[in-house]
Amino acid sequence: MAREHLSNGGFFTQLASLIETTHQKGHGSVYLTQKRLTFGSSDPSPPTAKVPDDPLWDLHPPNPLPLIVRATDGKSHKLDKEGGATAKGGIGRTKNGEKVKLSTVVQPDDIEAFFTRYAEVCKGGMRGLRRRDRSKRKKKIKGRRRGLRRV
């Protein structure tokens, strides 16, 4: 399943559809991870080579480093149809080849724009969360008014 990193735009498109499918299913999770990208970059010299003598070797790299942002549906395993119903724990499980895995590399210069977009996608997609409850406030205000009238 080792795939190429998506472009930032492609990542957002697929992330939005991943959140959407999770909603349609009615249950499930979306995992989003962000981390400093420490290897595999196009830079020929490794930006952060570990220095064994210095425990703080990675605190002040000379250049800003890119980030890697990943998204998955967390479905590493699936239940076997034959053994899954009876077997509990890891017995009935097999590797899920259809696990959704998305990843993208964010260059230091793009961080600002990326997270703005990221917030938009998440705010738009995560509609299962609790909205700000305005009805309660209204009720309270009404109640107070009624109280005032009675007095």
């Binding site: 249950h27 979306v30 995992y31 210095d54 425990p55 002040h60």
Partner: protein
């Protein structure tokens, strides 16, 4: 593992952790829609029916609407520190992701944006940066950086102070 109570606290302690271990620390955001049909959500209900009171039972069934939650987790595998934050408020999403952006800047080793709330951190980072530039591998510098950071942890207060100490012990 620590569950922090407010997004601000989580942000603050995650920033400290990232400052100490910028390469290994990762932040995972989990958006979870629970499956209410799964056995996990059936069990506690049954228990309540057996031993609980009527009122409690009604409350429990009343809240059985599929309610999504957002869990943010900052994890450093090297020291084993986990900082978690759980929320189910849609209003938090924007703020939290803006926070992820700020933490992302730290991960990328970009300078802190000038903001009042994080000025204190920025100053410390600057001090450390100056020391690091002078002699990146010297052990004296290491000590100097530690000195620079040490007064900051108690200043932050809260539960994360413990996590910070643990990390330092392991070094």
């Amino acid at each position: 593992m620590v569950y922090l109570k407010t997004p601000e606290e989580w942000q603050h302690h995650s920033a400290l952790l990232l400052q100490a271990r910028p390469t290994t620390t990762r932040i995972t955001t989990k958006y979870k829609i629970p499956n209410l049909a799964s056995p996990k959500y059936q069990k506690p209900n049954r228990r309540k029916r057996d031993g609980g009171e009527g009122e409690q039972k009604e409350q429990h069934t009343g809240s059985k609407v599929s309610r999504a939650a957002l869990v943010l987790k900052t994890y450093d595998p090297e020291s084993g520190v986990v900082l978690k934050l759980k929320t189910d408020k849609a209003a938090d999403v924007g703020r939290l992701i803006a926070g992820l952006g700020r933490l992302g800047r730290r991960m990328a080793a970009l300078p802190e944006k000038a903001e009042e709330a994080v000025m204190e951190d920025a100053e410390v980072a600057e001090q450390a940066a100056v020391g690091g530039a002078a002699a990146p591998t010297g052990k004296e510098t290491t000590a100097a950086i530690n000195d620079g950071k040490a007064p900051q942890a108690p200043g932050g207060g809260g539960g994360g102070g413990g996590a910070k100490k643990k990390k330092k012990g392991k070094k």
